[in-house]
């Protein structure tokens, strides 16, 4: 796969220490037939050769439509799903092929915040039980007698009343529950937090509170975030670098400014132009790229470039040759883009 050969270009960038480095990560889910004698009849290529780096104290945004593999990638990074092949280097430890016991230890440094604060908290546990549960798995982090105090501190840090430690999740609103989820993720003092659509289940007015909280915590604890979301304006606000995924592959990756102001991949351009702009004065004055059709099945992706079936730039070469994720010098910007015809296009989008 050509992507990896171009990745070193990224490593040299002066953005500080790399805490997470993913090289050519692949995750195929087998499609099986039969009950007793299962035979594999195909594979869903959920993540198909992804390489990226996460720097300390920074946020990497991961955007794409549903089914593009962004959540699978987040879980592969966590070690919750074992990668089929490739390399995931977390603070110097290689996660792929690691023994389960060692993996458990290594995972202390990566925690996750889930999308749905209604489903990700056990309704029969108190807030104290939920936030303190990580200490049961990693008892070395806090001695038993300190735990209650630690939980109270955590609740305070995320803006909840420490006196509510004995309440149950149903006694809290959506935004408050998400804060409980954030407190739980902070419990083990991780260095990396994977945020899997952390605000998409929340109302607009509450969403801003949670984003502000995440930014404050990042500064306070020097956290690195992998921020998975489909809301492009939220991702722009919080991210330093952004990766755009389509059908299991990264099609474009670069700084927030490069991706949003100078997108060179037609998919990024279409995605940005599809976001409705909260400004009625622009109605009819902006050119919207409306893509035809829907995302093809990852079990049977198109040959060559995976985006070619919906692409407005597609030519014959796109069906035969898979475009590598490389820097295109002629576009005048620095990001990596996987398109034979990468070029800058001015799109008016929601985050302008």
């Amino acid at each position: 796969m050509s992507e990896t050969t171009d990745a070193p270009a990224e490593q040299t960038s002066p953005r500080g220490e790399i805490v997470l480095s993913v090289r050519d990560a692949v995750k195929y889910f087998p499609l099986t037939q039969g009950i007793v004698f299962q035979k594999t009849i195909g594979q869903v290529r959920a993540v198909d050769g992804v390489s990226l780096d996460l720097h300390r104290g920074q946020t990497l945004g991961l955007v794409g439509e549903s089914g593009c593999g962004k959540s699978t990638l987040a879980r592969v990074i966590m070690g919750l799903i074992r990668a089929t092949s490739g390399s995931i280097n977390l603070l110097g430890d290689e996660l792929v092929g690691m023994k389960e016991r060692d993996l458990r230890k290594a995972r202390r440094n990566v925690q996750i915040i889930f999308q749905d604060p209604y489903a990700s908290l056990d309704p029969r546990m108190t807030v104290g039980g939920i936030v303190g549960e990580p200490f049961l798995i990693h008892p070395e982090v806090a001695p038993k007698k300190d735990r209650r105090k630690r939980v109270e501190e955590l609740l305070d840090v995320v803006g909840l009343n420490p006196e509510h430690i004995n309440r149950y999740p149903h006694q809290f609103s959506g935004g408050q529950r998400q804060r409980i989820g954030i407190a739980r993720a902070l419990a083990l003092r991780p260095q990396i937090i994977v945020c899997d659509e952390p605000v998409s289940a929340l109302d607009v007015s509450v969403q801003a509170q949670v984003i502000n909280l995440l930014e404050r915590l990042q500064e306070e604890f020097n956290l690195s975030y992998v921020f998975v979301a489909h809301d492009l304006s939220v991702v722009r606000h919080i991210s330093d670098r952004v990766a755009v995924m389509y059908l299991g592959k990264i099609v474009e990756i670069g700084t927030e400014d490069e991706i949003y102001e100078h997108p060179t991949h037609p998919y990024t351009q279409a995605l940005l132009s599809a976001v409705p702009v909260p400004d009625p004065e622009l109605r009819g004055h902006r050119e919207q790229i409306v893509l035809e059709g829907e995302v093809p099945s990852p079990a049977n992706p198109p040959s060559g470039c995976r985006f070619r079936t919906r692409c407005f730039l597609a030519q014959d070469i796109c069906a035969q040759e898979e475009p590598p994720l490389v820097r295109h010098a002629d576009t005048g910007t620095g990001q990596l883009s996987a398109c034979h015809f990468a070029k800058q296009l001015d799109v008016v989008h929601a985050t302008r």
């Binding site: 801003a208 702009v277 909260p278 004065e281 829907e294 985050t351």
Partner: protein, 367 residues
Amino acid sequence: MSTETPTTTSEGAPPEGESVGYEGRRRRAPKSRPEDEGFDASAPLLEVRDLQVEFRTRDGVSRAVNGASFSVAEGETLGILGESGCGKSVTAQAIMGILDRPPAHIAGGRVILRGVDLLSLPEETRRKVRADRIAMVFQDALSALNPVFSVGWQLSELHRRHRGYGKQEAKKESIRLLDLVGIPGAADRVNDYPHQFSGGMRQRVMIAMSLALDPDVLIADEPTTALDVTVQAQIMQLLADLQAERNMGLILITHDMGVVADVADKICVMYAGRIVERADVHSIYANPAHPYTKALLESIPRIDLKGQQLASIEGLPPILTRLPPGCSFNPRCAYAQERCTHDEPPLYDVDGARQSACHYWEKVLAR
């Protein structure tokens, strides 16, 4: 075996003892539209006046919609904007007449369609109005469509029941509709089941179903919230095209400030069951006259605010059974004064065309 499809709930599944396929045996309904109910084509399209909907719960009465008034004309798009629990969906369901009663209870107000107050009609007549004159598109097409009937069956049911079409005729009509909403190979897909369609295609089927009987008013309740942005763009374009073509009144209910900015002509902002601001789309975005609208607009991440804190609305939306006295928004409001804690603001007139339920709307406008 009841169909969850709201446009068809009126009729539901065929009565027991009658098999599904044999439409010819059933007594045919009249082929014409129910013109005899006193509808006056020259009267205004849809007017909602002081609508009040209550839910009687164990915790007391919760007033989900508290005096909502608005109107929609032919070819006009009204956006109803608000967060979850503000009463926007309940308003839509009250207009459609599909509220679960009890626990819901319409405590007052009028819904006047072409001169006829729908709330005063007997259920039998409302059933004829539903789908025929007012139709609705729901957020989650997978749960709104019946999984055990083919898409074609569910579509043709409308023509069979409301228009008395025969089976063949109705099927032909269904294919035409699927084609209209841009489903490729409509003739081949008419016998497919909802689960065989993708999310965007299912939403198209929903739209086809709502348009089947050529309604005058279409209510779209978060029609694209469950969809990806690229598909959302397709669906919104389809809705806009169809509306322009048929000159329908469209009520678009959403929490997305971007979607309404793109299509709406006027906007009602709801908070805790009340309409707090009502204005045309341009003035509301350029210069909101209610602190809640203003705060909502400011909480959208913008590029010039990168690296800064987002303006967030502190606190939480109130619980409807325990509304704060005075203005419901006062505990979260940046403009709140002592007066706001006991004196509920009426909808003040701002400039003839727009209204704001804030005592201090002039201050909000000025800043």
